[in-house]
Symmetry: C2
Subunit: 187 residues, 2 copies
DNA sequence: TTATAATTGTGATGTATGTCACACTTGAAC
DNA sequence: GTTCAAGTGTGACATACATCACAATTATAA
C-alpha cells in the first residue's frame, strides 16, 4: 500500500526510495468502513486524501435536503473539499465512503512543509492540480454541450466500472438528472 | 501595465523589483483588437496568457456549429486551453477577444523554466491552479444544484459587470440556456 | 447619412426531464 | 429463513426549457 502511493508519485516525478520514505512520513494511513465520513459538511477540513483502495463520494446536500454528487473518488485519486482545505473555511461538501476505503491523509501544514522541503513534490502537486482543473473543465463542457443521454453515454464509456459499483441513484445525482430519467435512459 | 502583473503576483508571493524584472523577461507583451483569436480550435497552443486589460471568451464550437462559452476572461485573469497547453495537443476550444485586449503571453518552455528558476513562481502557479480548480468545481456545483434562473441570478450577483460588457447571447451560452430563455428570465 | 449586420424581446409550440405514485426485486440484519 | 430497508423500473402528469418565427431596436461600416 505504500507502493501504491510511491508508484503514483513516480509516474510524474522521479523519487528515490530514500526520498520516498521521508515523503511518506508527512502522511498518515487511515482505514474507513462503509458510509464513514472523512469530511462532514460545515466542519473544518484538515486533510486531503490519497485513496489507496475503496470508493468515495464528494457530495453536497442543498437546502431542500437533496444530495448532489460533485465527484466519485477511487483508487489512485486525490480528494478533499479543496476549497475548504486550502482556504481553511468550513466544508461546503462532505466526503463519504461508498465502500470500505484506505487512504493516506495529508494535513495542510504538511502539504506546505512537503512542498518546501521537496521541490519535486511541489512540482507533483502543481501537475496534479492542473490535471484536476482540466478534468473539472471537461465536466463543465459536458454540461454545456450534452443532454442527459449524452452525459450518460460519456460516463458509461469513460468509467464503465462505476455502473457496477455504484447505485443508480448516485450516478443520476452525479449526472444531474433524476433517478427515474436515468433509469429510462439505460433501458 | 507591467505594474498590473507585478501586483497580481505579489498578492500571492513576495517578489523584489529586481526579481520581477527577471520574471517579466519570460513573457512577451501582446495587443489584440476586437474578435481576434489568441487560440484557434484545432491548432497548437503555445502560450498561456495573463490579461492586463480587455475581455475574452474561451469558447467551444460543437458538431452542430453551436457555440458554447466555457469561460469569460477579464483583467487579472490567466487563460488558455490549459489541457492543450500542458499536454501539447491541439486546442479543443478557441480563445477570442470580445473587446480589444492586452496580455502577457507565456510559452510553455518558459512556464517550466520560470518554475525551476523561481521556486516562488512555482508556488504562485500552484496556488493559481488550485484556485482555478476550485472555481471550476463551483461552476459544476451550480449546474447540479441550480436551474437556469438560479445560475442567472448567481452570475448577476458575482459578475454584474458582464451584463454591461457582453451580448446576452454569449451570457446565455455561458449559462447553458438558450438566448430566448435568458431574455425571459431577465424580464 | 444610408445600408447592413448584430442584438434583443416575445409569442406559439414541441420536447426533455422532473415529480409523484406504486410495484417489484435484491440484499442486509436479526 | 424471515424481516425490513435499499435499490430499481415504469406509468401519468406537470413544467422548464428549446426551437422557430418575426418584429423592433441598436450598432457598425461604407
Amino acid at each position: 500500500m505504500e507502493e501504491k502511493l510511491k508508484q503514483h508519485i513516480q509516474k510524474l516525478v522521479p523519487l528515490t526510495d530514500h526520498e520516498f520514505v521521508k515523503v511518506l512520513s508527512y502522511f498518515s494511513f487511515e482505514n474507513y468502513g462503509k458510509k464513514d465520513f472523512l469530511i462532514r459538511q460545515g466542519e473544518k477540513v484538515n486533510h486531503c486524501y490519497f485513496i489507496v483502495s475503496g470508493l468515495l463520494k464528494l457530495v453536497l446536500v442543498d437546502q431542500d435536503g437533496k444530495e448532489h454528487i460533485i465527484s466519485f473518488a477511487m483508487e489512485d485519486w486525490w480528494e478533499s473539499d479543496f476549497s475548504a482545505y486550502f482556504m481553511q473555511t468550513n466544508a461546503s461538501m462532505a466526503l463519504q465512503t461508498i465502500e470500505p476505503t484506505s487512504v493516506y491523509a495529508l494535513p495542510l501544514e504538511n502539504y506546505h512543509a512537503l512542498s518546501s522541503a521537496f521541490p519535486k513534490m511541489q512540482c507533483f502537486f502543481l501537475m496534479k492540480s492542473n490535471l484536476g482543473h482540466i478534468a473539472s473543465q471537461n465536466r463543465i463542457v459536458s454540461f454545456l454541450t450534452s443532454d442527459a443521454k449524452g452525459r450518460y453515454e460519456q460516463l458509461l464509456k469513460t468509467h464503465p466500472a462505476l455502473f457496477q459499483r455504484v447505485p443508480k441513484t448516485l450516478l443520476a445525482s452525479y449526472l444531474g438528472v433524476s433517478r427515474e430519467t436515468l433509469s429510462r435512459l439505460s433501458s
